[in-house]
């Protein structure tokens, strides 16, 4: 009898893990708390300055609990900053509603999105972040004709005729290309191993880098795909092919930190090639293990342009910290949405926004950028090297720029 009860409990727990009930992951609490404060700020700021010309409801669907919980508050900070800065003059009243993206169960994410659209009236959606979630919600958003802004990349197949996505800062399949190119042509690597999560984004982004690497004459000698939710990285660290000139990797930040610690503890000397939001927000915890390693950044707080300098100063003043990629890109996308709605005269349909944003010259925190007719952004990518700054903090130091990356040519 006792064993039967135990097995039943395991079954219940397995279902809880699969549907993401662990860790108090409910959309209601997060949604209420976040939307309350943000909605008030944006609306009051906009209406107190001038008569409102347009009013839009934006749903923010990003992880707020679980192993990727850092995305939620970081994105919210960027959105808050964009609304605070643009609200006065934009003439666009923005109401923000939020929900928790369930990283381990896309069906949960879809249900929360449906509520966001059908009950709460979201006209535009920011997120979701993870490729598996994006693939799951895209058909619904296409059918509902709701434009959605992926602020940390997405498959190019979800934009244009394939869906209603606006993809910032560029398509997953293309965005990491410069790192493969740099590894082959500048660093002279001939053979690389790869490590990435076993889901759509991991495959797309790694393929973007390996395509340019092999096109330049390099060879991929090993590929490891980590099941989503894996936290123990020892197996993967010990299996790296020692014949590789470098390991090309991307993992979610907490897993990346775990992996690098195992990697270093094992004494593996193979250089790392890392890309996209590397280790935010855990970089400072593992920076000493990464000094000298090469990566690819889309955003970097050390970028030398006026928009970024102002953004970093503003963020420091408000949060007493350095902004990361998630915050910077949520800020950028919120800004882009307002710019698009301004230009479309308040219209929020996919067609109107695409027409409004097509070719619009954007001055962003990562430099100049544009959106293609399909809604895919082209922007700069930066090859960076990990270093320790004079104040002893760890930084990614930009060493080379690749321009107009992200949209299919």
């Amino acid at each position: 009898m006792k064993v039967k009860v135990l097995v039943a409990a395991i079954g219940v727990l397995a279902v809880m893990v699969l549907v993401g009930c662990g860790g108090g992951e409910t959309s209601t609490t997060a949604s209420t708390a976040a939307s309350g404060s943000t909605e008030t700020t944006a609306a009051e700021t906009a209406t107190s300055a001038q008569p409102t010309k347009a009013s839009i409801t934006v749903g923010v669907l990003v992880p707020q609990t679980g192993f990727a919980a850092n995305y939620g508050p970081e994105a919210q900070q960027g959105i808050d900053m964009a609304l605070a800065e643009m609200g006065v003059d934009s003439g666009v009243e923005v109401k923000i509603i939020t929900a928790d993206e369930d990283v381990l169960d896309a069906s949960n994410t879809l249900e929360r999105l449906k509520k966001m659209v059908e009950t709460d009236g979201a006209q535009i959606v920011i997120g979701p972040v993870f490729g598996s979630s994006q693939q799951a919600v895209a058909p619904y958003l296409t059918q509902a004709k709701i434009p959605w802004f992926s602020f940390l990349g997405a498959s190019k197949d979800l934009a244009g005729s394939g869906g209603t996505a606006f993809v910032w800062p560029g398509a997953d399949q293309l965005t990491a290309g410069p790192l493969g190119d740099y590894a082959a042509k500048t660093l002279g690597y001939k053979k690389i191993a790869t490590l990435a999560p076993d889901y759509a984004y991991g495959h797309d982004s790694i393929t973007g880098a390996t395509d340019t690497f092999t096109a330049a004459g390099g060879k991929v000698i090993q590929q490891q795909w980590v099941p989503l939710g894996t936290t123990d990285m020892l197996q993967y660290a010990t299996k790296i092919d020692k014949n590789a000139d470098a390991l090309l990797m991307w993992l979610v930040p907490s897993d990346a930190a775990s992996f690098v610690k195992e990697y270093r503890n094992l004494g593996v000397k193979i250089p790392l090639l890392m890309f996209l939001g590397i280790f935010d927000p855990t970089f400072q915890e593992v920076g000493d293990l990464l000094v000298g390693e090469i990566g690819l950044n889309e955003y970097n707080p050390n970028l030398d342009n006026a928009r970024n300098t102002a953004f970093v100063q503003s963020y420091k003043a408000k949060y007493n910290a350095i902004p990361n990629q998630t915050t910077a890109f949520a800020y950028t996308v919120m800004e882009n949405i307002i710019q698009g709605v301004q230009k479309s005269g308040g219209k929020t349909s996919v067609e109107d926004l695409r027409a409004a944003m097509n070719g619009m010259a954007l001055d962003t925190v990562i430099g100049p950028a544009t959106y293609s007719p399909d809604g895919i952004a082209s922007s700069n990518r930066y090859i960076v090297k990990a270093a320790q700054a004079a104040d002893k903090t760890y930084i990614w130091d930009p060493i080379e720029t690749y321009e107009n990356v992200g949209a299919p040519k």
């Binding site: 064993v3 490891q224 123990d232 004494g267």
Partner: protein, 282 residues
């Protein structure tokens, strides 16, 4: 050999996770499914003491054990109210999981802590072609030490004899004039303390996360089912078996790795429903 070594290292973490739960279910007949939450609290306490306050790591591990043991006292008082009622115990457990998880998120934020940095545990030991990270060795040493202590207490002391007798026939033990309730409190505190120590030690490779309340419990329950409830030896054997199986499945059939341990559990249930130890709980 490297894969086998990895499996033993993972098994040591699993044993620390599961041994307290096995003891609690076996000794008390209580389905304390909040055990994963106690592990989680231990992980966060370990992080606070070692990283937040910069205390020596052994102090952090002991502190996590003490903190979790105190939490065990509170849990015992609650479970005392639903004796012999598994349905109510499961409901109470899930309520406690949510409460403890939300308190942890409130205190430490929902953002996971990366694996703890302990400078004197950096690096690895190389034996022939096998590399074993020092943190894994430390976990294995603590795991084996805990296993030895639990086995000795359970099998070689009068207290252990009372616990084992209580597992088989609690009324008979009480009829002999033994105050079983105090023994039960002691076992609850011990089981929870082991979970706290497991959280602090596991934090060296897994960090601390509010998702651990469920994730750890799921693994621990599988180990208890495979090893047999209330048996230190059975739990130890099951932990090592599952650790090695997990390592080899990730290495040889990565696509099937997540179902391998559940397949093993199903096999054990069919072939030997009482688990490896063959011990029945009361």
């Amino acid at each position: 050999m490297q894969t086998f070594s990895n499996g033993i290292a993972v098994g040591a973490v699993l044993f620390l996770m599961a041994s307290g739960l096995s003891l609690l279910i076996g000794a008390m007949g209580v389905l304390d499914l909040a055990h994963g939450a106690v592990y989680m609290v231990g992980a966060y306490l370990g992080w606070t003491l070692a990283i937040g306050l910069g205390q020596p790591y052994p102090v952090a591990v002991i502190g996590a054990g003490v903190g979790a043991g105190l939490l065990g006292v509170v849990l015992e008082r609650l479970f005392r109210r639903v004796p012999g009622m598994p349905d109510e115990q499961i409901l109470l457990s899930f309520g406690l999981i949510y409460v403890i998880t939300n308190v942890v998120q409130w205190v430490w934020s929902p953002i996971a802590k990366s694996p703890f940095d302990v400078s004197w545990l950096e690096g690895s030991v190389h034996v022939a072609s096998v590399a074993i990270p020092n943190v894994r060795l430390a976990i294995a040493v603590v795991g084996f030490a805990v296993a030895l202590v639990l086995w000795y207490v359970q099998e070689r002391t009068r207290t252990g004899a009372i616990v084992r007798a209580g597992m088989d026939d609690a009324n008979m033990v009480r009829a002999l004039g033994i105050h079983l309730d105090w023994v039960v409190v002691g076992v609850f505190v011990l089981g929870s303390a082991v979970a706290g120590i497991a959280g602090a030690m596991g934090g060296l490779v897994l960090g601390a996360s509010s998702a651990q309340a469920i994730d750890v419990l799921l693994l621990a329950l599988v180990i208890v089912v495979v090893g047999g409830v209330g048996s230190v030896v059975g739990t130890f054997a099951a932990s090592m078996l599952i650790g090695v199986l997990d390592a080899f499945s990730r290495s040889l059939v990565p696509g099937m790795s997540s179902v391998a341990i559940y397949a093993l559990m199903a096999l054990v249930l069919v072939v030997r429903p009482t688990g490896l130890s063959g011990r029945l709980a009361r």
